[in-house]
Structure formats: structure tokens, C-alpha cells
């Protein structure tokens, strides 16, 4: 299993500013994933964070808007840059563990409100 801690759990930010979300895992993992969940919607993958290389972004997400750091195998950050009210969402960090099952573990999420 894996235990994921995300900080902050929630924040209210002014438009035009940036917020950095931290994700700490209690074990070493090769890949970490960042998702966005807009109000009442499903999860959408933003990017895959690889240790030692640039993150891989999904269609519709760009590095300038969502820069990601992955300094080691247990930690990653996602920054939401130049925020607008449309960025108001829950942002979730996730890792996968392969044992009997291939299971994804998620952090509690960061609820971001942009005003």
C-alpha cells in the first residue's frame, strides 16, 4: 500500500497568483500522477511526474500553466500558475502499487478556489 499526504488541503487564492501543491508518499515510487477534478465531475489526468525527467502532460495541459517538480522518488509538487476562476477544482496526487492487484492510491486532494 501507499500513504499519500497532500498539502494544502484547501486554499482560496486571488486570480493571477500561483499555488504550489505538495505531495509526499511514504514509499519510493517511480511515477506519480496529478489529476484535476472539477466540481461534480470525474477525474482528469493532468500529467505524469517522472523522477529525473520532465513531466509528461496530457492533451489540454501545458507545462507553463502546471509546472511539476519531482526531486526524488517520494515527493512531487504541482503548481497552478496565473490562476483564474476556471482553475477552481480539486487537485489530486496519485501513485500506483503493483502487488496482487495493480492499485492506485490517492491523496485527499487540494480544494482550490480562485476568486
Amino acid at each position: 500500500s501507499a500513504v499519500i499526504s497532500q498539502k494544502p488541503s484547501r486554499d482560496i487564492c486571488q486570480r493571477g497568483t500561483s499555488l504550489t501543491i505538495q505531495c509526499q508518499v511514504d514509499s519510493q515510487v517511480t511515477m506519480m500522477f496529478w489529476y484535476r477534478q472539477q466540481p461534480g465531475q470525474s477525474l482528469t489526468l493532468i500529467a505524469t511526474a517522472n523522477q529525473g525527467s520532465e513531466a509528461t502532460y496530457e492533451s489540454g495541459f501545458v507545462i507553463d500553466k502546471f509546472p511539476i517538480s519531482r526531486p526524488n522518488l517520494t515527493f512531487s509538487t504541482l503548481t497552478v500558475s496565473n490562476m483564474s476562476p476556471e482553475d477552481s477544482s480539486i487537485y489530486l496526487c496519485s501513485v500506483e502499487v503493483v502487488s496482487k492487484n495493480t492499485e492506485a492510491f490517492f491523496g485527499q486532494g487540494t480544494r482550490l478556489t480562485v476568486v
Binding site: F33, S42, L43, L45, E96, V97, G107, R111
Partner: protein, 112 residues
């Protein structure tokens, strides 16, 4: 990744069995079927995973027909605390780093 289709919502009552069917017509040979549960203000949580026939754990059962084009999650004797959104996903097993594609999920409301 195979696309999945689930009912948008289901209502049930305490003590009843809830069955949620997911369609995945384009499932690949090496894909497994995995179900996640999400409560409000929490990240999704793994429930069960299977490849074929039937899988049962302490929380749920998963029924997969021979053609694997659909699957049914069965929650026995639900309680109010089972009110959540349930997601069906398909993807390769044993491939850490496999990207998960979440569909719309099924919002289950358990009533007293």
C-alpha cells in the same frame, strides 16, 4: 485505454444489494477491470479488481462474463455509508505507471 460506460446514478435503500454494470466493449486482452469508490472530499479508493469470472473480497463482488465486454460490481447489504461515486476502469495489470482514465462514474445514493 478502453472506454467505459456506467449509469450516471442509482438509488437504493439500506440493507439492499446494489449492482452496478459497466460496459467496456473495447477491452484489450491484457486489460483488467478495476473499481474505485470516492466519497465527497476524498480521493478515490480501490475496491476490487478482476480479469474474468468472479472475484470476491470483504467489500464487494465483481462479476465478469466470458466475453469481458461488461462487468458488474455487486455491493451486498449496503448501508448509508456506501453512498459514494463508483468508477469502473480498465487497464493493464502489473504495469505501474499505467495512466488511469476515469469515466463519469455512478453516483450511488443509499437511503434509510
Amino acid at each position: 485505454l478502453a472506454k467505459t460506460t456506467q449509469p450516471i446514478s442509482m438509488d437504493s435503500y439500506e440493507g439492499q444489494e446494489v449492482n452496478i454494470t459497466c460496459s467496456h466493449n473495447n477491452i484489450a486482452t491484457n486489460d483488467y477491470i478495476t473499481w474505485y469508490q470516492q466519497f465527497p472530499s476524498q480521493g478515490p479508493r480501490f475496491i476490487i479488481q478482476g480479469y474474468k469470472t468472479k472475484v470476491t473480497n470483504e467489500v464487494a463482488s465483481l462479476f465478469i462474463p466470458a466475453d469481458r465486454k461488461s462487468s458488474t460490481l455487486s455491493l451486498p447489504r449496503v448501508s448509508l455509508s456506501d453512498t459514494a461515486v463508483y468508477y469502473c476502469l480498465v487497464g493493464p495489470h502489473g504495469a505501474a505507471g499505467n495512466k488511469l482514465t476515469f469515466g463519469g462514474g455512478t453516483r450511488v445514493l443509499v437511503k434509510p
